[in-house]
């Protein structure tokens, strides 16, 4: 299984380093040819409007959407989650959404940079994961097919921060900025299972 990281803009190198820690040499993806060469993809943190713009100008938007709809495993963190979401509020009117994760997200829903914070969350089985939220999107609604894997409550209610729909994983925080590899390992497990199922 070949794993790629969408490398148009954002913290691509942190995701590649996180995957390298787990023994995976992830390829940067900036073109349709490079997309064709991978079986699973990470959509990194960055500015979702800029990445969306570059998805259009690079001709990747349509092919990426097709691959995701055909079941390509994906992990989107922060801006990556925004791109995967089916509904974006407080975005630009023309911001394209890939729509493969049935959630509503509010861009910068936790506030501006001065409100950006670090905290931690807990996954099933009591696994504690450190979380870094940077101008993070807030997940406000999840569809019936979406499983909430982790939530956070920093004093303004309980909100999902890690969600899964089939082989697609979305995080409103940045697992790639910490040394904890739980989320990337989860993604690789999902991707391998999905890849094995497709190969059979």
């Amino acid at each position: 299984m070949r794993v790629g990281v969408l490398a148009l803009q954002g913290d691509v190198s942190e995701h590649r380093a996180a995957l390298a820690d787990l023994g995976v040499d992830a390829a940067p993806v900036r073109s349709v040819t490079e997309l064709d060469g991978v079986d699973a993809i990470v959509l990194p943190g960055g500015e979702s409007t800029a990445i969306a713009h570059l998805l259009v100008t690079s001709g990747l938007l349509g092919p990426l959407e097709l691959r995701l709809r055909a079941g390509m495993p994906a992990l989107g963190t922060c801006a990556g989650l925004v791109l995967l979401a089916s509904s974006i509020t407080d975005g630009r009117d023309d911001q394209p959404a890939l729509g493969v994760l049935d959630v509503t997200v509010v861009r910068n829903g936790y506030g501006r940079q001065i409100a950006s914070f670090e905290s931690s969350t807990e996954l099933e089985g009591g696994v504690r994961v450190p979380t870094v939220f940077i101008r993070a999107p807030r997940i406000t609604e999840v569809g019936d097919d979406v499983e909430v894997l982790a939530t956070i409550d920093v004093g303004d209610g309980v909100h999902p921060v890690l969600v899964r729909q089939g082989p697609v994983l979305g995080a409103s925080f940045h697992p790639e900025l910490t040394a904890d590899r739980t989320v990337h390992a989860l993604f690789l497990d999902l991707a391998s299972a999905s890849h094995a199922a497709l190969s059979n």
Partner: protein, 298 residues
Amino acid sequence: MSPSKNTSTVGSAIVKRGLADMLRGGVIMDVVNPEQAKIAEDSGAVAVMALERVPSDIRRDGGVARMSDPEMIKGIQGIVTIPVMAKARIGHFAEAQILQALGVDYVDESEVLTPADEAHHIDKWAFTVPFVCGATSLGEALRRISEGACMIRSKGEAGTGNIVEAVRHLRTILGEIRRLTTLDDAERYAAAKELQAPLALVAEVAATGALPVPLFCAGGIATPADAALVRQIGAEAVFVGSGIFKSSDPERMARAIVEATTHFDDADLVAKVSTGLGPAMRGEELSTLSERLADRGW
């Protein structure tokens, strides 16, 4: 799975440096009004720098250049969804306090404005908002990082449309980093002394071969080819000041520089976006300048 009620920490180093990480591979554009900010966002900018005059106009007008009017910063914050940065004078921590109170996403302690303190830069650890600072050398970069800067940019020579100084600063910083990685432990003490930088930071750079914060390029970028050049030299993102809105077709220039910054090693693509752009900003030969902004700060 149980809901986890947690304490949360704002303004920590990982949170402040993290926003700089998110801007990697992008273009940060100087804008002087909401209309320009909208063009910047539409063109794929990752952030805008809100200021009253672009550096070439500051250079032309002379006088004391200060922090922008909060009203114009608020106007820009109200129109875009991308991060908004703003400049404070070197050492002017009260201007930085105002910018933080306004909720700007990044403060540029900038030599483009007239310095307010000739001995002290701002203590940037004291702030929740992250800071970017300019540097011409590795020692200068490490001094700024030791004061709490979360992003370093080359100073270049702002407002000239001349890339030569930014190239010099980038090559100096990156060359000095490469040299540090070849030193043994004993030699690092002398290097720290020569660089006038804290030993702990010098040792960290020697071990990792990189600054502990992102290194961006600023000062003199005027064309897509300039962006492709500095990205290939090693800048992780670019600031474009006068180069966009002083060109003949700002919207096309903005889009072209964004493309060239992302696809910096694809010469066919950079050639395509460079075609028929119209005149870039006029630019200045450095020998004709009466003052070098890069000499401000230390």
